[in-house]
Amino acid sequence: MPLTVIGFEGSANKLGIGIVRDGVVFSNPRHTYVTPPGKGFLPRETAKHHREWMLNVLKQALTDAGLTHADIDCVAYTKGPGMGAPLVSVAVAARTVAQLWNKPLIGVNHCIAHIEMGRLITSADNPTVLYVSGGNTQVIAYSERRYRIFGETIDIAVGNCLDRFARIIQISNDPSPGYNIEQLAKKGNKFLQLPYTVKGMDVSFTGILSFIEDAAKNKTLMAEYTPADLCFSLQETLFSMLVEITERAMAHCGSQEVMIVGGVGCNLRLQEMMEIMANERGARLYATDERFCIDNGAMIAQAGFEMYRTGLKDATYEDLLEESWCTQRFRTDEVEVTWRDP
């Protein structure tokens, strides 16, 4: 019996709804809340955006897939981690359709969804995962029924560091600040030495952000360096650190596969650096593009699918509905991975 799952994602500024049937993505529309240059997205406005676009995106997901609600077997949504207000707005919508259509409702860990989508798309078997986005920076490997976090940022996420730098130099947020930094960095060639903070398999970014913030406001320095040079220097430094901690984790775990997921993961320079590192140690890189790297609904559906067919297969409709809450803090290693071999 094929299992068709619809997934609702809205933990940050992207609203995505996707439909997946047994590992095949039927549809995956997304709408992003884009703020003007110099401004980040705030919880209240982001939640409002999600509520306004919910029905449009949902209709599009069903139309693109050529399915009706009767074809859906299960509804999945992001339980966390993420921003409170947007999470709630999406959870309410998912809970509503689950009850309207009388389908089981499954709450999914956002980070796990990224990993499972990456594994589905790239067919990587047991990779060391670098998960990099606006809110997360983690190096993850699987063992004994958990995705275990080996390295992590000890302060802000790498995407957050890039986003905030984009705000300082007033780069457009359309389609995303990271993408625009990447394009601008291609024009930079003069390297400014920035702090480099690796602590074992952990990293820290706040010192770098303050340093480059000061640099961008320093008129004498900016007579020598262009904003493009700063983007270039920032990217090179941040990504070197990320590749380094990933390599440390791979050496520590003896892993020969590496996968990048999360929004920052679609940066081609990061992918290129990771590939060189992987080749140097005879390992293989798996990466995806913006359709699946950036938050989307299909990834929630895919993780929900894995949970529904294994750990939750005997759960009742009422139990699942009872369990359908959401939380801003939800660690990757809290979830028991029932769908993989121990």
Partner: protein, 224 residues
């Protein structure tokens, strides 16, 4: 020279130095990062490692002896320690016994705690504490009893600091690596910390910082 292992920072070769078997640690250029970044890091880490290895021995912490340093080619010739990493040791002990508990290795955890206390009391920060960076050497002594010695290795990220913050982060890094590498080892790690507390003279401020750093990790908003 035989390539033994390619770590994250360096290649390790087995070689011979004036009749003694040794490990050659070569920090080769990393092509993925800019030359400007690579050269600076390589140079800094080589000198940090050499300095720390010497200061550790002065503080009475077991580390490999340095035989020779070639700064132009970024190579260190080190004493070869016969033994297995603490990581391998824990994994194999756990496989051998029937239950999956860690009780039999509590003495080793206590020993590690004591070593780290000594390290931090000498104002040295390792910077990359994991169970892969500790080697356990078992030797038979005269009374037919086995003794275990634990060596610390891989000091490339080390530095000297008297700040409780740096020491706290050092322990935090170990805690994270420890718990993710060895599932359900929370108790074992607390045995290690207890030993640290007993031996270190400045443990209270360090452990308060450790708690603070842990909170920082938890409080961090995790979006998208």
């Amino acid at each position: 020279m035989n390539l033994l292992q390619q770590g994250a920072e360096a290649r390790l070769f087995a070689a011979n130095f004036c009749g003694r078997s040794c490990i050659v640690k070569e920090r080769f250029p990393k092509k993925y990062r800019l030359q400007e970044i690579d050269e600076k890091l390589t140079k800094k880490r080589l000198s940090q490692e050499v300095k720390a290895l010497q200061r550790c021995r002065k503080a009475g912490i077991l580390t490999p002896i340095i035989y020779f340093v070639d700064t132009t080619r970024s190579i260190i010739f080190l004493e070869k320690i016969d033994g297995e990493t603490v990581r391998q040791h824990i994994v194999s002990v756990r496989k051998m016994q029937e239950d999956s508990s860690y009780h039999s290795i509590y003495p080793m955890a206590r020993e590690i705690g004591k070593i780290l206390a000594k390290l931090h009391d000498a104002d040295l920060i390792h910077g990359d504490l994991t169970t892969s960076n500790m080697i356990i050497k078992t030797s038979d002594n005269k009374l037919d009893k086995k003794t275990n010695e634990i060596f610390l290795i891989d000091f490339g990220l080390s530095f000297s600091s008297s700040l409780a913050e740096d020491k706290g982060v050092d322990l935090y890094v170990l805690e994270r690596a420890f718990l993710s590498t060895h599932p359900n080892s929370e108790e074992l790690f607390s045995v290690l910390l207890d030993a640290y507390k007993d031996v270190s003279k400045k443990s209270s401020s360090v452990l308060t910082k450790l708690e603070e750093v842990r909170q920082r990790g938890r409080k961090r908003s995790m979006i998208g």
